[in-house]
């Protein structure tokens, strides 16, 4: 992992400045993802914008974008929590949609449910105004790179 990664992780951990880390994932930056600290835990936020709408009649978030936000929540969480030397590789991802995403910001957090030497299993929750009412829950496996 290059110096940019190490510096971005240091900025996040030491100064709570997450922007350099998000900027290293061009797609997360394209979506407009932000990392915030809430009650001493990192929490991901995706501000609403019209171009992320899937169904303008409701209107509702594009369900794929909600999923993409959750996958990248897990990736950013792993980058923050682990000292991985490369970007974890996605193995699989499964999401259950519980509620339609209203035109408001999305929030998500991630829990590492199992951490092995090669594989991490994560669970991700996504909600809007009420953390107790998730709009989607997901799980994902990642292959952790080992230094070569």
């Amino acid at each position: 992992m290059s110096g940019a990664w190490i510096e971005a992780r240091r900025a996040a951990r030491e100064r709570g400045d997450y922007a350099p880390l998000v900027a290293l994932i061009p797609y997360a930056r394209f979506l407009g993802m932000r990392v915030e600290t809430h009650e001493q835990r990192p929490r991901l936020r995706l501000p609403f914008r019209d171009s992320l709408v899937g169904n303008p009649r409701l209107p509702a978030w594009h369900g794929g974008v909600t999923a993409a936000f959750m996958e990248n929540t897990a990736l950013l969480h792993l980058l923050l929590q682990l000292d991985a030397e490369r970007m974890p590789k996605s193995i699989d991802f499964a999401v259950d949609y519980l509620l339609s995403g209203r035109p408001e910001d999305l929030y998500a957090d991630c829990e590492i449910t199992r951490l092995g030497s090669r594989v991490a299993q994560t669970q991700i929750r996504c909600w809007q105004s009420d953390p107790a009412r998730p709009i989607a829950i997901a799980r994902a496996h990642f292959l952790l790179s080992t230094s070569e």
């Binding site: 992992m1 290059s2 290293l24 994932i25 061009p26 797609y27 997360a28 930056r29 394209f30 979506l31 019209d50 171009s51 992320l52 709408v53 899937g54 169904n55 303008p56 009649r57 594009h62 369900g63 794929g64 974008v65 999923a67 993409a68 936000f69 996958e71 990248n72 990736l75 490369r86 970007m87 590789k89 996605s90 193995i91 699989d92 991802f93 499964a94 999401v95 259950d96 949609y97 339609s100």
Partner: protein, 151 residues
Amino acid sequence: MSDPDFIDALRERYLALSPHMAECGMQVGALSADAAVLILPWREDWLGDSESGRINPGVITVLVDSAAGLAVLARVGQREPIATLDLRMDYLRPAFRGAAVHCRTSCFRLTQSIAFVRATVWQHDEGQPIASAQLVFMRSNAPRPGHGGAP
């Protein structure tokens, strides 16, 4: 079921009706009641990691969800509201910068309430897929329980 006028209308309007699909520049490829192909042209924004040049898994999921919705409507044969209930992705191979991403989806089972969809994703060779997926959609106009119909 396979009204050619409806398929033509779907081809013309499906992407334009969705702000996010339009923003991503997706294009409809082959389209029939049996299968739909959606194409995501390459853009640097899709990268997950500039160093390795790998495409982010999230944008592949966006393509799959979009393509699956198209396949369901093509199979249904008329406009109706549908909602994704669940989606599962398997990332079979890494996807790399510089090439469009293609997704072929098929609604292989349609009931009054539910649509079951399979998807395959590739860049250069459909025989070397980068991902496969399964999705389940709810048909929101379906009769409510107690009004008959199954499942």
